[in-house]
């Protein structure tokens, strides 16, 4: 087995670590015994990096709420426990959070929430610092990997000292930035054991009401902790025209842009250290709050009646990532100076094509969306995963995407709320295996319970595809890669109330059968589920076959194969043809990129003149793998 540097590095070693890796190391060093998460960009790698550590139980949970509940249970058992999620994950988990904050903890309970500031792979941009205010919880905000490591470790102490869950708020530029970290030694912790205490662990109204004053008292104690926290750092500066108050990665951009101005760097950002801030404000002419993304600190400062003007989102954007390029012109303009223009070489070319993410060559979803794009009179309720790309070119076969599992409820709503113009439309829902298990099952139950007329396409590729092919109950393997019971989707949807004869399993590469099955099921006014059963091409059990090629003489340029959307099919020549009826049509002659083709045999099924054939095997065999 390869040496795992993150796991084996002795105390004092300096490593180049991403925020996610630094978190994993810190969680382990803290003596954490249980850690759970559902994959989600940009947080996924935390649990992946934590899994190989010894003496810690780690799991992929089916969704974020369950992962938090597992962590809560472990905390009640007296173990230090941990859970990680992307920002939208907390929307799912918050039901548990908002009451556990009343009940408190036994073993330290730390939650990392990774905000996808800048939308690298998310459906919205949320500022998770709001949970601190909402849930009366401390928020720590690291600015780089070293701080992520230190704050994650400290979060466990804070959690136990103040009897509260603690949130470490990360962003994409923390999770995925690598920087130097000095790692330390593991603290040995044992589980204290579960001690029944109905007044705390049974949150019936009476008990919860009695806990409330304790939570408010905790707010006061946390305020003092924040005032004294070593994570709130005052950096003096000679140019006192502006005093910056900043947190997270924004600190780095500000410090780089204005090295000589006083700065208050906040790491313990909820509750705010208002006395520290007040003292700081007396040393400067005005304050500029630089934070990602919402004006949370700024809002509280505005209410604090400081004696100097406060700027923030009046000059800086309240969305997307900040960077020196964004901050500098805004601040310079406030100072009344002209920003030094950086000479930028503009290339003379016209604007380049965009390169949006695409489905992979031979992806089993290609056949599904090729087929859906050819079924008329349907509305398609989509979900979150690789198949969300089905909304794009060339398929344009997905009409809605909102949140994990929403394809089910939205489909039912489209059915029940249909207007006159939709009277002849069938409602189709498309959802992946992991998303179905995450939040889709309940929605399907609602469809069957309420006799909805929805055809569900359950795309079972046995992986959480978009985040990199993680395991889930549909893959039959756990986070460690060990075998575990694999959910039987046909039985599951039957158990949820779908009639056995309305459950079909289809190979998505068999286009005629897939088309026939969808056509048949949308006509029947009952819930039905079509399961496509071919695995993601990026996971290790996918078997690659010999590539296909195009016989130039036979290709008529009809472009049908391009509607599959496979990135291995490339246009060699375009043209026009006038049909006998006088209609002019575009022609596109194609070739197949041998290195990218995995021989899935999908595109030949779209080619009427049979121009796509297996590539003759080279005599000496294939040498493309090293």
């Amino acid at each position: 087995m390869l040496e795992n540097r993150l796991v084996n590095a002795p105390a004092g070693t300096r490593l180049l670590l991403s925020g996610n890796e630094a978190t994993a190391r810190a969680v382990w060093e803290a003596g954490t015994r249980v850690a759970a998460a559902y994959p989600g960009t940009p947080s996924t790698e935390i649990l992946e990096n934590l899994a190989p550590f010894p003496d810690i139980y780690t799991e992929w949970s089916v969704n974020e709420k369950v992962s938090l509940e597992v962590a809560i249970g472990a905390s009640l058992a007296g173990s230090r426990s941990y859970c990680a999620m992307k920002h939208v994950g907390m929307n799912v988990a918050s039901d548990a959070l908002m009451t556990q904050t009343l009940a408190g903890v036994v073993g330290g309970l730390v939650i990392s929430i990774a905000d996808d500031v800048g939308f690298s792979s998310s459906q919205n941009e949320q500022d998770s610092r709001f949970w601190g205010r909402f849930g009366h919880l401390p928020i720590l905000e690291p600015a780089d990997s070293q701080e992520t490591y230190e704050m994650t470790l400290a979060a466990f102490e804070i959690s136990e000292t103040y009897d509260t869950p603690v949130i470490v708020r990360m962003t994409t530029r923390i999770c995925h930035v690598k920087a130097m970290v000095t790692v330390g030694k593991k603290i040995e912790k044992t589980a204290a054991g579960f001690k029944p205490d109905p007044a705390r662990w049974v949150m019936v109204p009476g008990a919860a009401k009695r806990q409330l004053p304790k939570m408010l008292e905790r707010d006061g104690k946390l305020k003092i902790a924040s005032e004294q926290s070593p994570f709130n750092i005052l950096e003096d500066g000679s140019d006192k025209r502006i005093g910056f108050i900043t947190s997270g990665p924004a600190y780095m951009h500000v410090r780089e842009s204005y090295p000589d101005m006083p700065l208050l760097k906040l790491g313990f950002t909820h509750p705010l250290p208002m006395e520290v801030i007040r003292k700081f404000s007396q040393q400067v002419e005005k304050i500029v709050v630089v934070e990602e993304t919402e004006p949370l600190v700024e809002g509280e400062l505005n209410g604090a009646k400081l004696s100097v003007p406060i700027h923030g989102k009046d000059i800086l954007p309240a969305t997307d990532e900040l960077s020196p390029a964004v901050i500098k012109p805004a601040i310079d303009s406030l100072l009344g100076i002209k920003t030094e223009v950086v000479q930028v070489v503009e290339t003379p070319a016209a604007p380049l094509f965009p390169r949006p993410p695409t489905m992979c060559s031979a992806c089993p979803h290609l056949g599904v969306f090729y087929t859906l794009s050819r079924v008329r009179n349907i509305h398609i309720s989509g979900d979150i995963g690789c198949y969300t790309l089905g909304a794009g070119q060339p398929w344009e076969a997905l009409d809605t995407t909102i949140s994990m599992g929403a394809s089910m409820g939205i489909a039912l709503g489209l059915d029940k709320g249909r207007g006159e113009s939709d009277s002849n439309k069938a409602i189709v829902a498309v959802i992946g295996d992991s998303t179905f298990l995450h939040m889709g099952m309940q929605g399907l139950l609602d469809i069957t319970y309420n006799r909805g007329n929805v055809t569900v396409l359950l795309l079972d590729n046995r992986a959480v595809g978009m985040t990199g092919g993680q395991e889930n109950p549909g893959s039959g393997r756990d986070l460690q890669g060990d075998e575990t019971p694999r959910v039987d989707f046909a039985k599951l949807v039957e158990a949820l109330g779908v009639a056995p004869e309305r459950v079909k399993t289809v190979d998505p590469y068999q286009l005629p059968e897939l088309f026939k099955t969808i056509r048949q099921e949308v006509k029947i006014p009952e819930p039905s589920v079509i399961i496509t059963d071919q695995p993601c091409v990026l996971i290790d059990h996918y078997i690659q076959k010999p590539a296909f090629t195009v016989v130039d003489d036979k290709c008529t340029g009809c472009g049908n194969c391009l509607d599959v959307g496979c990135p291995a099919i490339l246009v060699t020549k375009r043209g026009k043809e006038v049909k006998p009826n006088g209609q002019e049509v575009d022609l596109a002659f194609v070739r197949i990129e041998t290195a990218a083709c995995t021989g899935c045999d999908l595109c030949p099924k779209t080619c009427a003149p049979d121009a796509i054939v297996p590539l003759p095997l080279p005599e000496k065999g294939c040498t493309t793998h090293g």
């Binding site: 780095m252 070489v345 094509f353 978009m466």
Partner: protein, 202 residues
Amino acid sequence: MDDKTTNILVVGIGGLGVMTAAEILAEAAINQGYDVKKTEVAGMAQRGGVVSSHVRFGKKVLSPVITKGTADFLIGFEAAESLRWTPYLRPNGVALVNDMKIVPPVVSVGLYDYPTNPVDEIYKSGLSVTAFDAGAVANDLGNPKLVNTVMLGAVSDKLPFPAEVLKSCILDRFRAKKPKLVTLNDTAFETGRRIAAEKSGG
């Protein structure tokens, strides 16, 4: 060590080895005692989207992000992506480009055009560019995955530390993971280095 921070932008699309190349550059800089930060935006990179990886090193690096007009080096793993990121180079910066074209489906379905010769456009901007088909070089050496090592070899003599430092970082990785490929990568590195030297000289 001077106070200047060196900015290297490595760009391409998912699956070409952009992030690995950036990682190796970062490791080499660490070995030279620099403070290093490396960041990328690649949320859905596995799906053929644009990947850009920023490597910054110096005495002390604060922001991990390279802004427009400030990159000292642009290492482009694909022709059009190199053109896309050219405005990030500073006017005297160095561009090293793999002149390999990967056409996305949006072009195949006829929505957009792929520029006829992206590298020509970069030349026209007056920047110092070294371009060659590193993919073809890698194929000639018998393994398309060598493109990464060929590219790093090609940039190695222009960096603020000796080429040998970068090379040993690459070879150490292979020694640990795939010892059989050490010699082949050594050859790939030196081939890239030689081609770049010839191109710059001529």
